[in-house]
């Protein structure tokens, strides 16, 4: 519920900010506040062990559920997240300029973050926990990169997301390992009954800890947090002090009851925690930017927190969660105070700040209270928590580990005291101001007397430096009270330690070991108190000696710089990615294809050799007639591979295709043979149409060595496929699915031609898919040629320009003959009927009267034959494909005989219309069967007696076949119009030409001539190939028209 509220608020936030301006933040603050209030109202019941549980099934199939549970730890985190969130939002309403850029986005992301953080701490499902965890990562990225126009901002955001996401992924792995090991993803169940120790559990623990370490900026991933200070200060206060960085601590605290006894856990927590505590404290001493001082301070405190909550004893855990709450209060407060100082003076550089405490006494008070809590001064919350922590460490059982940790914590705390004082001194004290650009250590003035309260702020003759100090303006009151509230709370909670203990001890009691700890303000003169006193003394001394200390720090090498290591790693990663890309993405088609083929040969070959016995029964042939066709196909294929001329290769390819058609006939597949012959013919023409633009010879490739590789690969592939061909037929163990096709075809499909019925009925969906591919291919051809439009104009004979002949351009060999004929004769010629309507648009030397006559006689015959094939295809060889190809071939012939204007006359439609209509008839009409109550593409048989024709039996799948027919005609027409007519037009208009391409027009003519004679030849082949199957198509073979026959004048 609350999460939904946050989500909704995040969505409306930009609009609200747009309308109300920055005041909208006050309204939005109510959302996290409601979460905090909700948690507070539950506090007594939670303490009593009554845990509210909310569960929504999310993806039941995957066992995902949204489970939320409020226990003590979640309660504490909810209060922190909600309370600090509300205060920071209220603070925002005065912090930003009304005109600041991107406020709406900021508000939305901020609330989204608050919501995900809430979800993170309330989640009881581990997958949900991970999702929320990543959501906080992403929103944090957006908030850090708020000033997207700043390089430092972008870099910091990127660094943060890379590191925390790496941790998040590790967390996911850990969660999955844990969930699988435990058999449940419910966190409470896993913790109550952890999986037994073992390699798997250890790996899961390591992954979880890695996630926590990155999120909470522990060594060695601490560097992202200071860089993340590029975020606006309220974000730093909320995400990088109170909420997000605590997620890691929360995770450690959550799983500590289950795994604290594991050695990996113990060592990681102890070593990383104390190292972070020390490194953070040491670095914080040397920063000049107030936010950076706090950031390194946070790093240091996070180390301490993880150390305490991860240690696994009840006392330490109690101290840990108490410190968690205290830290949220004082650190958020300090960031807010920094924001006020920044807003008031325009700088956060403690070398340039002076006298701010006098100008802003209340701000200084808030800062002082929070600092006091941070450094552990009594009677503040920080003191209570640290005291309890030291007590817990002192009582740690097990030899030298405890004392060592006590020393580490003591040293870290001394650093804390020192940088805390330094922060307050830097922000508020009046002191000599260093002009910008002065080296840091030279700037350290003699220590001002220590000041703990603003009233006592010393003002030693600093006034003459004031002119160099940043100017102080007075910010609004709204900025102050959230900081003050948090600071005072740090005092108030400390005064009621029993209440804190009462509320928090249920969590500590979940830990298996150690005696219960206590939160007290005054425990008597214990060793812990002594340590605290010593720490305070040393801290003050360190602060006083900060000048020499900084100078020392600057001289000593800083050792490996984690940030630098990170940048270098990222750089190496980029290089590695480039290398991998360079190796795998060769950019060379032969290499890619070669890899595919090698894998095919190796994979299939190994399977063939190991999985089968190649010793199969074979026959030399099915029928002796296979032999000549096989020899023709094989020989021509080999010759194609050797051919150096393009045209030769293509013609041989045609021969091979026709030979295959012959094989089809012998195999008992007349439909296939018919289609193959027709396709081969059209292919040949299309090839020639394009080849006329390409050089006659294949270019020389000097790579002789690679040729042998190709030969080897070719042989290997051939042998492998031959093996497959040998083995596959005898591998059949079931009866063919097509065994009953014959009866089914006749009974349900109403046709005797089983293949055709298979295409239009039994497997009609396959055919729909296939013709769709054809349509796409045709459209692709047209768009590659026309480039800008789907198709070009339709050339009509009437519109042909008189001054320009089609396919003219080459020297006219018969010009001398024609010169004899006078102009008048030409005029007389006009009255004579032409065999073809557009024949006169051709250049005279390109015309052939015999060809024209033959085409004239043949065209209509072919169309009728096509239609015959279409309608008889259901029972006899034929069908939509063959019919479409026959009609397409008729168009091809018209085009070859009469040029592009003749094509326009023959088929004055846009091919797109045919294509669309065809697909509609095939697929669309199939849907009509639905209306009639059948399934899609179901067919009906209608039988009736028609006078004259006799008994007529119509099957509805005929409509489907007509669709196929139209589409195939459309494809051929489209190809002819783009690769034929349009290329002609361009060649004649000179559009394709570059400086050296001037002879291309001549080439067009001769190649088209060649195409014509080729076509005639192909029909001759077709007649042996398809024999009886295509009686009509074979007719033109009888009339070989001489190429380029001159037109003799009258």
């Amino acid at each position: 519920m609350l999460l939904a509220l946050h989500l909704a608020a995040a969505l409306v936030a930009p609009a609200l900010v747009g309308r109300l301006g920055r005041r909208a933040f006050l309204v939005l603050a109510l959302v996290p506040a409601s979460a905090a209030v909700w948690a507070l109202t539950w506090s007594e019941r939670v303490q009593g062990g009554e845990l509210p549980l909310e569960q929504v099934r999310y993806v039941p199939a995957l066992g995902l559920e949204l489970t939320f549970r409020l226990d003590t730890l979640a309660w504490l985190m909810t209060v922190v997240v909600g309370g600090v969130g509300a205060l920071v939002l209220a603070y925002c309403s005065a912090y930003f300029k009304s005109s600041a850029a991107g406020l709406g986005r900021f508000a939305g992301v901020f609330l989204a973050f608050a919501g995900s953080m809430l979800g993170l701490v309330l989640a009881d499902d581990m997958i949900l926990l991970f999702v929320m965890w990543e959501l906080t990562t992403v929103t944090s990225y957006l908030l850090i990169g708020h000033n997207a126009d700043k390089k430092a901002s972008r870099r910091a955001a990127m660094q943060a997301i890379v590191i925390t996401t790496a941790g998040g992924l590790a967390l996911l792995v850990g969660v999955v390992l844990l969930g699988e090991a435990a058999g449940t993803y419910r966190m409470s169940a896993v913790i109550a009954d952890p999986p037994p120790p073992g390699a798997l559990t250890t790996a899961a623990i390591a992954c979880l800890l890695f996630g926590a370490v990155t999120k909470s900026a522990l060594v060695p991933f601490h560097f992202w947090l200071p860089a993340a200070m590029a975020a606006p200060t309220p974000v730093s206060a909320y995400l990088h002090a109170a909420a997000m960085v605590k997620a890691g601590v929360y995770l450690v605290a959550r799983f500590a009851p289950a795994f604290a006894a594991d050695p990996v856990w113990r060592w990681s927590v102890a070593v990383l925690g104390s190292a972070t505590l020390l490194v953070g404290g040491y670095r914080a001493m040397r920063q000049h930017d107030l936010k950076l001082v706090l950031a390194f301070g946070t790093v240091s405190q996070l180390g301490l927190l993880v150390l305490l909550v991860g240690l696994g004893t009840r006392a330490a855990a109690l101290a840990g969660v108490a410190l968690l709450g205290a830290h949220a209060m004082f650190k958020a407060s300090l960031f807010l105070v920094t924001g006020i100082v920044d807003a008031a003076t325009g700088t956060r550089d403690l070398r340039r700040l002076s006298g701010v405490g006098r100008a802003l006494p209340w701000t200084a008070t808030a800062g002082a209270l929070a600092t006091a809590s941070m450094i552990g001064l009594p009677p503040f919350a920080g003191f209570v928590a640290k005291e309890a922590g030291l007590e817990a460490l002192l009582h740690l059982e097990g030899g030298w580990e405890g004392p060592l940790l006590v020393v580490a914590v003591a040293v870290g705390s001394a650093f804390t005291v020192a940088y805390g004082l330094r922060f307050w001194w830097g922000a508020f004290a009046s002191k000599p101001v260093v002009p910008e650009g002065t080296p840091a250590h030279a700037a350290t003035a003699p220590a001002s007397p220590l000041a703990r309260t603003p009233d006592a702020a010393p003002v030693p003759d600093a006034s003459h430096h004031r002119h160099a100090a940043a100017e102080v303006t007075r910010p609004s009151l709204t900025l102050l009270w959230p900081a003050l509230v948090l600071a005072v709370l740090g005092l108030a909670t400390a005064l009621l330690p029993a209440l804190g203990e009462h509320l928090l001890s249920p969590y500590a009691d979940t830990l298996p070991t150690g005696e219960a700890g206590h939160l007290v303000l005054w425990a008597g003169l214990t060793p812990a108190l002594g340590i605290t006193a010593a720490v305070l003394t040393v801290g003050v001394l360190l602060f006083v000696a900060r000048g020499p200390f900084e100078a020392f720090g600057a001289r000593v090498s800083r050792g490996p710089d984690a940030d630098l290591v990170y940048r270098r790693t990222m750089r190496r990663l980029d290089d590695l990615a480039a290398d991998v890309t360079a190796i795998t993405q060769r950019g060379s088609l032969p290499v890619y294809l070669g890899v595919v083929l090698v894998v095919f040969v190796a994979g299939t070959g190994v399977a063939l050799l190991t999985g089968t016995s190649l010793d199969v029964a074979t026959r030399p042939w099915d029928h002796p007639a296979q032999l000549p066709f096989a020899v023709a196909a094989g020989l021509s294929a080999l010759l194609v591979a050797r051919a150096r001329r393009r045209l030769k290769a293509v013609v041989l390819l045609g021969v091979c295709g026709y030979a295959i058609a012959g094989l089809f006939v012998v195999q008992g597949a007349p439909d296939l043979a018919l289609t193959q012959v027709l396709v081969e013919t059209v292919t040949l023409v299309v090839f020639v149409l394009v080849l006329r633009r390409l050089p006659a010879y294949f270019s020389d490739r000097p790579l002789a060595a690679s040729r042998w590789v190709r030969v080897a690969l070719g042989v290997a592939a051939g042998v492998t496929v031959a093996g497959v061909a040998l083995v596959a037929p005898s591998a059949r163990v079931h009866a063919p699915v097509s065994e009953n096709f014959a009866e089914e075809a006749y009974e349900f499909g109403g046709g005797r031609n089983v293949v055709n019925v298979t295409l239009v009925d039994i497997r009609a969906w396959d055919t729909v898919g296939e013709i769709a591919v054809l349509l796409v291919a045709a459209t692709g051809v047209a768009s590659l040629v026309f480039l800008q439009r789907r198709s070009g104009q339709i050339f009509r004979a009437d519109e042909a320009p008189a001054d320009r002949a089609v396919w003219g351009g080459s020297p006219d060999p018969t010009a001398a003959l024609r010169r004899a004929g006078p102009r008048a004769a030409a005029a007389g010629l006009e009255r004579r009927t032409e065999w073809l309507r557009s024949a006169r648009t051709l250049a005279p030397q390109r015309r052939s009267v015999i060809f024209e006559v033959v085409v004239r006689l043949l065209f209509h015959t072919m169309v009728v034959f096509g239609l015959f094939l279409l309608f008889s295809g259901h029972n006899q060889p034929g069908g939509g494909f063959a019919a479409g190809l026959v009609v397409g071939t008729a168009l091809v012939v018209r085009y070859l005989a009469g040029g592009r204007y003749e094509l326009g006359e023959a088929a004055p439609v846009q091919p797109g219309v045919l294509l669309g209509l065809g697909l509609f008839l095939s697929a669309g009409v199939g849907l009509a069967a639905l209306l009639a109550g059948g399934t899609v593409l179901q067919s009906w048989i209608l039988e009736t007696d028609v006078p004259l024709l006799g008994h007529v039996k119509v099957v509805t799948s005929l409509v489907f076949d007509i669709g196929v027919f139209l589409l195939v005609v459309g494809v051929v027409l489209d190809v002819l119009r783009s690769l034929g007519a349009e290329l002609d037009r361009r060649a004649e208009a000179g559009e394709d030409e570059v400086a050296d391409g001037s002879h291309a027009i001549g080439a067009v003519g001769s190649f088209v001539g060649a195409a014509g004679s080729e076509l005639r030849g192909s029909f001759a082949d077709a007649s042996d190939g398809a024999g009886a199957a295509v009686p009509t198509a074979a007719t033109p073979a009888a009339t070989p028209a001489p190429r380029d026959r001159p037109e003799v004048g009258p």
């Binding site: 606006p232 700088t347 993405q585 950019g587 042989v715 190809l885």
Partner: protein, 164 residues
């Protein structure tokens, strides 16, 4: 039941067609690639047919001659494959034409961008410079302090003499 023993003649033809097809497919000239593809598809069509069993009568009902009829299913599959090959041929030819239009040849060149990346990778150079990630990894990089000093929030400056 159809005789499932493969015919050696057909197997040999398939081997030759596939072999020559692959050989041509690995060429640079788009025309040869296309010719190779057509040969290859012819070979595969035959393979389909062989997998369907031995030759037989045409699969036409009501035309019962001697012997079993051939398997219609591979024939239907092959038929569509043949027509698709036509579409493929036309499309590749259009591409060859386009290539000629642009470059005056139909050779399939290596991808320029891929080669550039490979060259850069060999020299360990960046393909592009990204000021954000391009870490000044050397000595002179800006410190956190300096970067922090550059960044300021768009804050309300407040007023002189306002609250505290």
């Amino acid at each position: 039941m159809i005789d499932m023993r493969p015919s050696l003649v057909l197997v040999l033809v398939i081997a030759v067609l596939v072999g020559t097809g692959v050989y041509l497919l690995l060429e640079r000239s788009l025309t040869r690639v296309l010719v190779g593809a057509v040969l290859l598809s012819n070979g595969v069509n035959l393979l389909l047919l062989v997998a369907g069993g031995a030759a037989g009568r045409p699969p036409l009902t009501g035309d019962e001659g001697p012997g079993p009829s051939s398997d219609p299913l591979p024939q239907a599959l092959t038929l569509t494959a043949i027509v698709i090959t036509l579409g493929l041929t036309a499309f590749l030819l259009a591409m060859a034409y386009r290539s000629w239009q642009l470059h005056r040849h139909d050779e399939v060149q290596d991808d320029v961008e891929d080669r550039r990346i490979a060259r850069l990778a060999a020299r360990d150079e960046r393909a592009f410079t990204d000021a954000d990630t391009e870490a000044d990894t050397g000595r002179g990089r800006s410190s956190l302090d300096e970067e922090a000093a550059e960044l300021h929030d768009d804050t309300d400056e407040g007023t002189r003499g306002g609250a505290r």
